[in-house]
């Protein structure tokens, strides 16, 4: 321990009278002298972030702490989203808005004060958001988006991620185009755009990204544990057990993995190497396990029966990963390829060699077992993992050599993480926002198959999306939102939006649209494209959640459109 506690009696060292001093000194500790912070104690930053580090680990936190986020449009939803990014500690944020604060802004946006009215809203919100976390840097940019897009496009490409909150539809598309085109150039930055639109109780989040890699999707289903094709030491161990001579204690503590490996091995031996295939065979397999039970309540056997399906789920590279291996960017790698692409390329080589299986994972699920048997089993898996890891690293070094990269280009930490969690990686290929909005391809197909179902919230959400799209087209034509003229009869605007929606649906002039669309238009225009505080809170949470996923490369982001109907607390995700 680098700092030993100063001597002296305990009573002297621990004052009982505590007085307030300046806010950065812990008086209680100050009296113990100038001892350094002991090495085992986390620093203030770690303690501030403790609860989130347990979710995305320090690798995720490092990514977050180097992220620079731009918010275009300074409204309640955008500021709520920023709040949720400033708190966990991004590096920097900028708010871009030319507007001055109005009292209506103050009414809905928590990060403004009545005194803010009349001052630039970007400056005001930056001021209040910065208070949330002294480690985060923030700055306002009081300027029009449209002119900045032309005069200084490189401003936008200096960020890690951009949020566009309720900005004019035409400029939103221009911004999306700029980012998409930038990422097209070789080595160009791939900057995700999260576009928010909300009106009253209805909200929508769209994400544009060209290509996004996920290093850990945190999949629900774990790997297969090689029950169907056990590695030799595992099979040997399972077969070596003599169930008949065991006492009941020992018998009821054999891990279910061992029970299944053993049963599968015996089954294969007597059936020419085949595993249970038909449902009849599967039932018989389970029955054979049940027959080995000594008494009715052996928990390990119960677990084995519940997990038996794993025996006939084949140990192989997961389907999603196989798709990735077929991708051109993985098949043909170069020195400018991303680490994940190189690792996947190596995986492809790894599985091309017998036994054509992905690397063994070292982790075991929790199971009913004695400690000794559990640890023994765990060691078998760990040893096999080490062997596979060594083989993978050998291949990787050859692969790197072939593309003129040095050994060690990819940090060991990353390689090990990949090998441990082969099933948990992903690459997402996005769609340009313009294409997904303009109804090319997927949206048209969705319309063809569309059928309203009052019990399936996603059908309402889809209709809401179309109502939002039609309203955006209305805005582009009129430079205002439908229903925004307070005195005017809403129905006139609504009819026009309905006409636009007909066009999106591909209907002829005289055809009627279904009631659900009329209702959704009414709900969307009723909201007047204003921001309800609860909707802002909700969407701000969703947007920040997605931003964190994108920045940390953990978890699968919502690709690419989410609609939220808070009237009914429903949501749906679409890929257009």
């Amino acid at each position: 321990m680098p700092s030993s506690p100063p001597s002296g009696s305990d009573q002297e060292r621990r004052p009982t009278k505590i007085t307030k001093m300046d806010d950065s000194i812990d008086v209680t500790h100050a009296t113990t002298g100038t001892a350094e912070i002991p090495s085992y104690r986390p620093d203030a930053k770690t303690r501030r972030y403790d609860r989130q580090l347990r979710l995305w680990a320090s690798a995720g936190q490092r990514s977050l702490e180097s992220a620079r986020v731009l918010l275009v449009g300074c409204d309640a939803t955008g500021c709520q989203a920023l709040k949720n990014l400033v708190l966990p500690g991004i590096s920097h944020f900028t708010i871009l808005s030319p507007h001055l604060t109005t009292s209506q802004d103050v009414a809905t946006n928590f990060f403004l004060h009545p005194d803010s009215v009349g001052s630039p809203i970007a400056e005001q919100s930056v001021k209040y958001l910065k208070e949330l976390n002294p480690a985060v840097d923030g700055s306002p940019r009081v300027e029009e988006l449209s002119s900045l897009l032309v005069s200084e496009p490189e401003f936008f490409t200096s960020f890690t991620l951009i949020l566009a909150s309720n900005i004019e539809p035409a400029f939103e598309l221009q911004l999306a185009d700029l980012l998409w085109d930038t990422s097209a150039s070789v080595g160009g930055p791939d900057i995700p755009l999260i576009a928010i639109r909300n009106s009253g109780f209805i909200g929508r989040v769209e994400i544009q990204l060209r290509e996004h890699s996920v290093v850990d999707t945190h999949p629900d289903t774990t790997h297969t544990l090689r029950l169907d094709e056990p590695f030799p030491s595992l099979e040997e161990h399972a077969r070596s057990l003599d169930l008949s001579t065991m006492d009941s204690m020992e018998h009821s503590h054999i891990p279910w993995v061992v029970l299944l490996v053993r049963a599968a091995s015996l089954w294969k031996e007597s059936r020419g190497g085949k595993l249970p295939g038909t449902s009849e065979e599967k039932a018989r397999f389970k029955k054979s396990i049940k027959e080995d039970m000594m008494k009715g309540d052996e928990e390990n056997y119960e677990e084995a029966l519940a997990q038996a399906y794993r025996v006939w789920s084949k140990s192989e590279v997961p389907w999603e990963i196989k798709q990735l291996l077929e991708d051109e960017s993985v098949k043909n790698i170069s020195s400018s390829s991303k680490n994940l692409q190189i690792l996947l390329h190596t995986l492809s080589l790894f599985t091309s060699i017998a036994p054509h299986l992905p690397p063994t994972s070292p982790s075991l699920p929790d199971m009913h077992s004695s400690t000794t048997s559990y640890v023994h089993l765990q060691n078998l898996y760990k040893k096999e993992y080490q062997t596979d890891l060594a083989r993978f690293k050998q291949l990787l070094s050859e692969v790197l050599g072939n593309i003129d990269l040095e050994d060690g280009t990819i940090p060991d930490e990353e390689v090990e993480g990949f090998v441990k969690n082969v099933g948990g990686v992903g690459i997402i290929k996005g769609t340009p926002l313009r294409a997904s909005k303009e109804g090319k391809g997927l949206i048209t197909e969705q319309i063809k198959e569309y059928q309203y179902d009052e019990y399936d919230g996603s059908t309402t959400c889809f209709a809401m999306h179309l109502a939002l799209l039609a309203s955006e087209q209305f805005f582009i034509a009129h430079k205002r939102w439908p229903g925004a003229k307070a005195q005017q009869d809403m129905s006139e605007d609504n009819r026009e939006v309905e006409e636009i929606l007909k066009g999106i649906l591909g209907k002829k002039n005289l055809e009627e649209v279904d009631d659900i669309f009329v209702e959704c238009i009414a709900e969307v225009t009723r909201g007047g494209f204003g921001t309800l505080p609860t909707t802002a809170a909700f969407l701000g949470g969703v947007v920040a959640q997605e931003a964190i996923k994108l920045v940390t490369n953990q978890y699968t982001p919502l690709d690419n459109t989410v609609i939220v109907n808070l009237v009914k607390s429903e949501s749906a995700k679409f890929k257009f």
Binding site: K17, R48, Q104, P365, V375, S458, V542, A544, L558
Partner: protein, 672 residues
């Protein structure tokens, strides 16, 4: 300009009127509570009471956005309200903030009846169940919520319409056999539980000899090794001796020697114990040897057993690789460092014990002294037993049962709570006196339970809340507010005038008009039997004398188990009135108990949820509320974050008088 004109037009005048007028109670000013308070204020709720007993800690600041660093150690409720007011100074919003425990006796049935809607933003089962019961008794709608990492949920609970919080059985806490913890640990968690629940309590907690003996006798009766149990009893007696000398200069060293050398040697002497399969003999530790680094560290049993993760979230730590890198608290300590930490933390804790002899210390994951102690203790014990050591980061998570918590999930959940609150308000009778209440309840969207999931296709799920379980002993029982002057009302008055007379007039389900049946009642307060038909010894004593307090319940149970129990909730009475109590004008309907006796009588034990995630805010401690807005500071935090201890001499007095019964609610490991 009216600040909420947009919201008003969108909600409609009638609902908006309810928003402005309905009195709201928010229980908890933590992660969800902060978000919720902000949303309520922005939507235009104008009459809010918020209560929380906790003070602000540095680890709150990554999500509880109404708090700043200079607020550390101040009461959460007061700071949250002050910040929320600051952002909305002119909107005519009244936030009544209280630093206190929702379980305090002043928070009785009459109090909860004053609210139109209650919102729970809690992080522990005990307080959740308490508020649930209060709301059921008072027939006030409740919105229950919780988050864990990326998951969250919102559940409306309305008497007679939905199931209540206790209708659903909650999973039992993780438990370990007593001998595994005390004599034969084989996993790091066993060592941590031992340090946290056993050794810590023995040295610094309330010394409860009876409970200890009882626990051991129970274990013995449950078939655990008798010799081992006797041995443990001796050990416990020896502790009392060590504890006396703890404050002395070599006190901590003596504790070390007793615990890690003598006790282990005594265990080793029991040859039979180590013959069992899988048992590994521990090695006694030696103070001098460790200090001069001549002590040979016992080998690890086989390989390091990876602890199956505690709460399903731990995998993300990516432990293996991170230990080497960076973060201070993710480094493993050497044996010598652990020993030094043990000695040092013992000294720190015993100094605190001496300074405040009336406040038994208890483990708190955010109290650095207690965490250091548990860390060092667990690792020393693990070393002796050949079990892998854990880092501070890991021990904190395992001992504190930490639920990961982030801003985004809380924001989403708090948004959903307010949406559900609007749905509930829509269905409540109108507050305006002019229109008839029947006509003014508009249908609106149905009330729903909403779940936030990690499902990338459908992030929100919802369900119509289930109907109440007919066997539920919380929401199906009968509750009656009893305003009573406890100093004047005798138990005899209660039994004769209230139970035998007033209650006899009640309508009993299934009873014929001319049925002469007389129900015989037994009277309980909590688990205490006060009277039954053959036991009237206490009749002359006043309720006060019998220690029946405001906020508690006197329960009348039918001797034959035919009818539902009737709970009289004790509220503040009028000391001037001629009759020392007052009751509702009409007696209730008393339903029949279901044919099968209810088996799920909720225990008084605290359990922790696995399926429904606890929220992130307050931790419950039974602390007498103090009304000043100064810091409470029974915790001591690590020294490096700029914590401010804001306390006046006057408050020092308060502190000494207060008795902290339970501090950390996350204590979830039960030892069988």
């Amino acid at each position: 300009m009216p600040r909420s004109s947009y919201t008003k037009s969108l909600l409609g005048p009638e609902l908006y009127q309810k928003v402005r007028k309905t009195k709201i109670l928010v229980v908890g000013a933590g992660g969800i509570g902060c978000e919720l308070l902000k949303n309520l204020v922005l939507v235009g709720f104008a009459n809010i009471e918020i209560i929380d007993l906790d003070t602000i800690d540095l680890s709150n600041l990554n999500r509880q956005f109404l708090f700043r660093k200079p607020d550390i150690s101040k009461p959460k409720a007061l700071v949250a309200a002050a910040t929320a007011r600051h952002f909305n100074p002119t909107s005519g919003i009244d936030i009544h903030a209280r630093h206190g425990n929702v379980k305090d006796s002043v928070n009785d049935l009459e109090w909860i009846k004053g609210f139109g809607l209650v919102m729970n933003a809690l992080d522990n089962m005990d307080a959740r169940r308490h508020v649930n019961k209060l709301c059921q008794a008072a027939n006030v709608p409740l919105i229950e919520s919780g988050t864990a990492g990326y998951l969250g949920q919102v559940t409306p609970i309305i008497k007679d319409k939905t199931e209540c919080f206790d209708c659903v059985v909650k999973p039992a806490p993780k438990s370990f056999p007593v001998c595994t913890i005390r004599s034969t640990p084989s996993e790091p968690i066993h060592c941590i539980v031992w340090g946290k629940t056993y050794l810590f309590g023995k040295l610094f907690g309330e010394d409860d000899e009876d409970m200890d003996t009882e626990e051991l006798d129970k274990a013995k009766a449950g078939g655990e090794n008798a010799e081992e149990i006797e041995n443990l009893k001796k050990e416990a007696a020896a502790f009392r001796e060590v504890r006396k000398n703890l404050g002395g200069e070599d006190g901590p060293q003596r504790v070390f020697h007793k615990v890690f050398n003598e006790d282990i040697n005594r265990l080793l002497a029991m040859e039979d114990m180590w013959k069992k399969e899988g048992r590994v003999k521990p090695v006694p530790l030696e103070y001098e040897g460790i200090m001069n680094e001549s002590f040979a560290t016992p080998p690890l049993r086989q390989a390091a057993a990876q602890q199956p993760n505690v709460n399903g979230q731990a995998q993300t730590n990516g432990n293996g690789t991170e230990k080497k890198k960076g973060l201070k608290d993710q480094r493993e300590l050497s044996l010598k460092e652990n020993l030094e930490l043990f000695i040092d933390s013992c000294k720190r804790l015993s100094a605190r014990a001496i300074a405040y002899p009336d406040i038994p210390l208890s483990f708190d994951k955010d109290d650095a002294d207690t965490l250091d102690f548990v860390l060092a203790t667990a690792n020393l014990r693990a070393t002796a037993y050949g079990i892998a050591n854990k880092t501070r980061f890991e021990v904190k998570e395992m001992a504190g049962n930490i639920i990961p918590a982030i801003a985004t999930t809380n924001a989403i959940i708090a948004g959903l709570i307010v949406m559900q609150s609007l749905n509930i308000l829509r269905q409540l009778p109108s507050l305006s006196s002019s229109s008839s209440s029947e006509a003014s309840t508009s249908a609106g969207p149905a009330i729903r339970s909403v779940f936030l999931r990690t499902d990338p296709i459908k992030p929100l799920g919802h369900s119509i809340p289930a109907k109440a379980d007919p066997e539920c002993s919380v929401c199906r029982d009968v509750y009656i507010p009893l305003k009573v002057d406890l100093a004047r009302c005798t138990l005899g008055t209660f039994v004769n005038d209230i139970v035998k007379t007033w209650l006899a007039e009640a309508e009993f389900e299934g009873r014929e008009e001319d049925d002469e049946e007389v129900v015989e009642w037994t009277i309980f307060e909590g688990g205490r039997l006060l009277a039954d038909p053959d036991f009237d010894d206490n009749f002359e004593r006043t309720l006060e004398d019998l220690d029946v307090k405001r906020g508690k319940m006197l329960t009348a149970r039918d001797e034959d188990g035919k009818y539902r129990p009737v709970h009289f909730s004790i509220c503040e009475g009028d000391s001037q009135a001629s009759i020392p109590y007052s009751l509702p004008s009409t007696p209730p309907l008393i339903p029949l108990l279901p044919a099968k006796p209810a088996t799920r009588e909720p225990s008084e034990e605290i359990t922790i949820l696995d399926s429904m995630p606890p929220a992130t805010s307050t931790s419950v401690s039974e602390v007498t509320p103090i009304s000043s807005n100064t810091a409470v500071g029974t915790k001591r935090s690590a020294p490096d974050d700029g914590d401010v201890k804001d306390a006046t001499a006057e408050e020092e007095q308060t502190k000494k008088k207060r008795k902290v019964v339970v501090v950390d609610e996350d204590d979830d490991f039960e030892i069988l």
